[in-house]
């Protein structure tokens, strides 16, 4: 059976046979870079189209349906429009930071891609502190948003950036704590170990109440971290017109837009890895035959299926709920989510120490 693991391995072997190791590494890095960037481009197109269709159907509309077959080329056409649009820099803006901010945001989004395991043996960087790396790098993105808000010389942008700063710093905590639940149960920070631990069933279906609680907290926290409605206070179009990216246009705006969707993809990928077994097919304990049938579906399909289900859930939130107010947002985090997450962590730790749980 051909799998991505075999392809990557055969490329590696073919290159190693004729070239010296340094050159092989460089070529492989270049290939990986191109793959990541093209994945980004495709993801941007697909997710924006998905969002527009999801919102359209929920709003009893048809959504884009004119450009290309059933409107599939709509987002490509929009990207083209954004590419050829003039990128204005407002007078009085800090030009350097203004131009740097979208790049920073997109680079951070790319960095988090590194430790994610797409299928068995198909991973850019098998780092043993994968989860820690992800939560560390993802919090750098807020600097880009703060930079954009500050450099725009616009009060709406500044307010949006400040809100975003407060929001991401707060929600980072409960997102981190909910991730720790799984880390404690698995006993490892490595993404591969976490996936391997779900060989006999995904964490969410193993029947642990702390895992369920931490999943709910995780979903809420990452929705907030990615600035999605109902927590889209940084943009809050009815209050701050467009928040931190009010002054951005053309491709620089497109980068922010792309980064938002890539961030959603990544947090959903993390969520799928932690709670839904990553690329691991749906296994039930010792039902060997059932598990065997499930294995016929390739891991990459499982992984993307799980990610897109989670993305759909987050989009569903966005098109149903009103936005929270800024003080309610922080209240929710500091008064409800954080204490619950901490208590949950305590519970998990007790479980882990006593060994009273299904591995």
């Amino acid at each position: 059976m051909i799998s991505l693991e075999h392809i990557s391995q055969s490329i590696h072997e073919a290159l190693s046979a004729s070239l010296n190791p340094t050159l092989v590494l460089l070529i492989e890095m270049a290939i990986a870079g191109i793959l990541v960037i093209s994945l980004f481009a495709v993801l941007g197109l697909v997710l924006v189209f998905m969002e527009r269709k999801v919102s359209a159907y929920m709003q009893i509309r048809l959504g884009p349906n004119r450009v290309g077959y059933k409107g599939f080329a709509q987002t490509a056409a929009d990207t083209l429009k954004l590419l050829i649009k003039e990128g204005l820099t407002p007078d009085g803006a800090d030009k350097f930071l203004f131009n740097l901010a979208p790049l920073l945001v997109i680079v951070v989004a790319m960095l988090i891609m590194a430790p994610i395991a797409f299928t068995k043996g198909f991973q850019l960087w098998d780092i043993n502190i994968g989860v820690l790396y992800v939560s560390a790098v993802s919090s750098v993105g807020v600097i880009g948003i703060l930079m954009a808000g500050w450099a725009s010389n616009n009060k709406y942008s500044l307010l949006g950036a400040m809100r975003s700063g407060a929001q991401i710093v707060s929600y980072e905590l409960s997102a981190g704590l909910s991730v720790l639940t799984i880390v404690i149960l698995v006993g490892s920070l490595s993404i591969n170990d976490i996936i391997a631990s779900q060989q006999n069933g995904w964490w969410i279906f193993k029947g642990h109440i702390p895992v369920l609680i931490s999943f709910v907290i995780f979903v809420i926290a990452v929705t907030a971290e990615t600035n999605r409605a109902p927590f889209d206070l940084a943009e809050a179009e009815s209050e701050l017109t467009a928040g931190f990216h009010t002054e951005y246009s053309g491709m620089r705006f497109a980068l922010f837009f792309l980064a938002e969707y890539v961030n959603i993809f990544i947090v959903c990928a993390i969520g799928a890895t932690l709670f839904f077994g990553g690329w691991m097919p749906f296994h039930i304990g010792s039902w060997e035959e059932f598990n065997h049938v499930m294995d016929f579906i390739p891991g990459i399909v499982w992984f993307f299926g799980k990610i897109f289900s989670l993305i759909f859930l987050i989009m569903w939130f966005r098109w149903t709920f009103p936005r929270l107010r800024v003080d309610q947002l922080l209240n929710l985090e500091w008064k409800y989510l954080l204490p619950i997450a901490m208590f949950n962590l305590l519970l998990t730790t007790v479980m882990a120490i006593t060994g009273f749980y299904i591995k």
């Binding site: 159907y57 929920m58 509309r61």
Partner: protein
């Protein structure tokens, strides 16, 4: 009890949020509820009373019913209508006022229907067109009586 109240609040919160999500989820999966009209492909049929623009009715002999009485011009709140009359020689030798040009400024018109109501001879009526956009506003000034048309017999 504090704990009971707390759990009740959490429960009702989740219930209210989930019921909202159920509704949007229902619409997501029930595409027959979609109300989008595919406008340029499927043209809307306007109601017969819809006020699109003022037109003058002409019969097959290219005759209209307008006597040039200027009742519509007086009734119009926006000076949309301008009637130019001429003196026409009747067969019996008498001179009679007749319509020369019925100028209609679509760009000033608010479709209030007052001119139609005011017209004593039912010479003008509202058409159901609605795609009025043009590239130059001078195209919106229209001449309503067809070239060479004359007053219908028997209309006073």
């Amino acid at each position: 009890m504090f704990i009971v109240d707390y759990i009740k609040t959490v429960y009702s919160t989740c219930k209210s949020l989930l019921s909202g999500m159920r509704l949007t989820g229902y619409y997501f999966f029930h595409h027959k509820e979609i109300i989008t009209e595919q406008y340029p492909d499927v043209k809307a049929v306007m109601a017969e009373r819809f006020r699109g623009e003022v037109v003058m009715t002409h019969d097959e002999k290219n005759e209209h019913r307008c006597t040039g009485c200027t009742a519509c011009e007086l009734a119009c709140p926006n000076a949309t209508i301008k009637i130019v009359t001429k003196q026409e020689l009747q067969p019996d030798g008498k001179k009679k006022k007749a319509l020369e040009t019925f100028v209609y400024h679509l760009e000033l018109c608010t479709m209030c229907n007052l001119c139609i109501v005011a017209c004593p001879t039912d010479a003008i009526k509202m058409a159901q067109t609605f795609e009025h956009s043009v590239y130059d506003r001078s195209q919106l000034t229209k001449k309503l009586n067809a070239p060479g048309s004359k007053l219908m017999e028997g209309v006073e």
